[in-house]
Amino acid sequence: MDWYEALALLLGSIIFLMAVGMPVALAFLAANIVGAWVFMGGERGVTQLLNNGMGALTKYALMPIPLFLLMGEIFFHTGLGGRMFNAIDKLLGRLPGRLSYVTVLGGTAFSTLSGSSMGSTALLGSLMVPEMKRRGYKSHMSIGPILGTGGLAIIIPPSALAVLLATLAQIDVAALLIAGVVPGLILAAFYIGTIWLQTRLDPNAAPAYDVEPMSLAFRFKLLMTEVVPMVGVMVAIIVLMIQGFVTPSEAAAFGALGVLVLAALFRCLTWTAAKKSVIGALKVTLMAYLIVFGSATFSQLLAFSGASRGLVNWAIAFELAPLAMLLVMFAVLLLLGMFMEQISIMLLTVPIFFPLAQSLGFDPIWFGLIMLLSLEISFTTPPFGLLLFVMKGVAPMGTTMREIYTSAFPFILCSLLLVALLIGFPELALWLPSM
């Protein structure tokens, strides 16, 4: 079978099954059964599929997702989160869309430092989205910024994916990590601009209400009692991480513990709240993990069948000008990103793209960053961006997949704009590492 036939078979079956409404995880499993049968020699291929899925699931790197979820759910069900947002609402006064800004700022700080896109999307999604919906924000005002900042985890250091990319590509790890700082912050600024634009274009997107004037002393008290302790928990786990007390994979467990302790101190830790938190975290985890189980194997089938490598080799066989070649590679990464998980994409494309980039005269650090950006975007591109499904899991009942797709869209545009900027002004990435 030629690569494009394999590609058509695999992508065709998954798209069809998802479109008719098969649960995403089951659609992956069904497409995997078809693929394994065809490319791995019949029913024994299905056995291999189960083995591969088991390998993909029993990975320590997946640990932050349920634990960050647990942390967010405890925040939410004990009412700690609500208290914090009430206070922030009061403190920020009349600024339209203030909680969306808070989301971008908090999300940028948290997701970048925690290094886990799925984990921080899970945390912020379970914490912010239901609360903001209750306060009358349109859902795209909470979902969009969270999806946007979730991806920042892999651009701004620390970033396990950036380290892996640098080692695979044999480029300077530190330089690639530092190169991500300025573009990452620019991206966060774009997100802020997007929210400002959204509240300007649609004043009803975020609630507007009057805030009673407060004395400075009262504001200070509010800040110290309602905001600082909650934010303190997040800051504390970040400090633990920077100090080398915990690895990023372990940090989430201490986050959950911290919120538990906090809830106990504030006397709002009830048995019901604890139970609801575990159930809430469990539901989203199970949903996301079964998708990981299916999609990891799907990625492998795309590679094993030769479909993805065929696509890559076909695309780079065109002899084009360097800029056009860059766009071709970027498009291939985006396309693969829609269906494959990030590490597989890197393993597959790095050995092919980096020598090519070098022969075209690209700076490898700069090219590495463009590649990271494409992976960042692929976390939130329909149909299979994993963050979209995590979001679907934590968003309130009745939030449709389409709402989530459309919420993500402006923030994907921000990333694309950043890529364009980096092409025009490579020094945005390269200035800091050269210092």
């Binding site: 409404g21 029913e43 189960l50 029993t58 634990l67 575990v278 469990l282 993990y289 449709t400």
Partner: protein
């Protein structure tokens, strides 16, 4: 009687999955504290957490089917008239049953192979592989039963609700 036993099993597995989630937190915290106190963390803390991820997913998945927690996209189903939607919805559920049955069957095969070969998972310990893979036939078998409720039962998997919201 059978139904009651089955439901107890389903919810019992879900509760176990929830406890495993809590165990993840406890095991990570314990091993970090031990390490920073200069002790050698028990390797089984680490390994049990990794295996816990698999057990948790498989034990909880059938319950999640009952709760309609496996995310799906209502695109076609939302656009269809009610009768046709019913047919498509039941058809999709039937396809899910088929997928789960195939995986349960091959999972059972895998367990037998693991026992016959004496396979071990080699991380910190040599752990009999069949004790992990046994989760597959159990989980997918029960998922097949749960999906079949959407084929034959009164409740449908698809609400068609996306159409109302959009």
């Amino acid at each position: 009687m059978f139904k009651k036993t089955y439901d107890t099993l389903l919810y019992g597995m879900a509760i176990l999955a929830g406890l495993l989630l809590v165990w993840l937190m406890v095991s990570v915290i314990t091993s970090v504290l031990m390490r920073n106190a200069g002790l050698q963390p028990f390797a089984w803390l680490f390994t049990s957490a990794e295996y816990g991820l698999l057990y948790m997913t498989m034990l909880g998945a059938p319950w999640l089917v009952r709760e309609k927690g496996h995310v799906h996209i209502e695109l076609v189903t939302a656009a269809l008239p009610a009768t046709l939607r019913t047919i498509v919805s039941r058809g999709v559920a039937a396809a899910c049953v088929l997928v789960c049955l195939i995986l349960a069957w091959k999972g059972f095969d895998l367990v037998l192979t693991n026992i016959e070969r004496g396979d071990y998972d080699t991380r910190a310990y040599y752990f009999p592989r069949w004790m992990l893979t046994i989760a597959f036939p159990l989980s997918f078998g029960m998922m097949a039963i749960e999906f079949s409720r959407f084929v034959f039962g009164t409740d449908l998997m698809h609400s068609g609700e996306a159409g109302i919201h959009e």
